[in-house]
Subunit: 133 residues, 2 copies
């Protein structure tokens, strides 16, 4: 496992977006922006059940994520790793609510029906690349 | 070929970053942010010869790109397509210089040695997804 150093942790804890790439069933690439957080040395993503990324990562847990700082797009971290756990149910809802707090300043995610059908993807970093200019 | 409508064109012509995803030789996903431009209905990316994305796209031209607006990260376009042409030499250098003008406000890209070893990737859009909130 690659260590996330403090500057990488700060980028992931900030109100920045992660562009998460996965591979589709036909072998083509997929990418989408998403909220992101960390739990110790793991990267946490929250996604709807049945989304392309959630389905792709059930089939193939390998993932690469690019994060840039919202106020300086040349401050970049790219993390390669794989999903070690997909959690659903109330724990995934609670994690989405923490993300709603961080990104929207709300106590909970407004759409409770959506919030009940989410998955938390726990990603173990294998390689970390950083560039700051 | 999917049409790039005027709002998509505006996002691609603005000072926004494209997160370009490709598939590595081992079948794992790759993603990196990059400058972007358009030529009519084609998406243009400029990249160094021998970079991961350039090498991946020579092997498998399928590509997906996610672009968000720098000032509103919830304004999103995702484009699926494939590289129909890789151009190198003076034309690729001139295209990098146009990107340097757009993103850096400079007449040409400062590192001329780097600028001489670039490729322009011409991407034909097959599917376009937009979301604006």
């Amino acid at each position: 496992m690659a260590e996330l150093d403090t500057s990488v942790q700060a980028l992931l804890q900030g109100k920045n977006f992660a562009f998460i790439s996965t591979v589709n069933a036909d072998g083509s690439p997929h990418v989408a922006p998403t909220w992101v957080d960390i739990d110790g040395n793991y990267v946490l993503i929250n996604t709807g059940l049945g989304t392309v990324k959630q389905t792709n990562l059930k089939r193939d847990p390998r993932v690469t994520i690019a994060i840039t700082e919202q106020t300086n797009p040349y401050n970049l971290v790219i993390i390669r790793g794989y999903v070690v756990e997909q959690t659903t149910g109330p724990k995934a809802t609670a994690q989405l609510d923490r993300l709603a707090k961080k990104y929207m300043g709300l106590e909970e995610f407004p759409d409770r029906q959506l919030a009940s059908r989410q998955a938390t993807l726990k990603i173990k970093p294998e390689r970390v690349f950083t560039r700051k200019t």
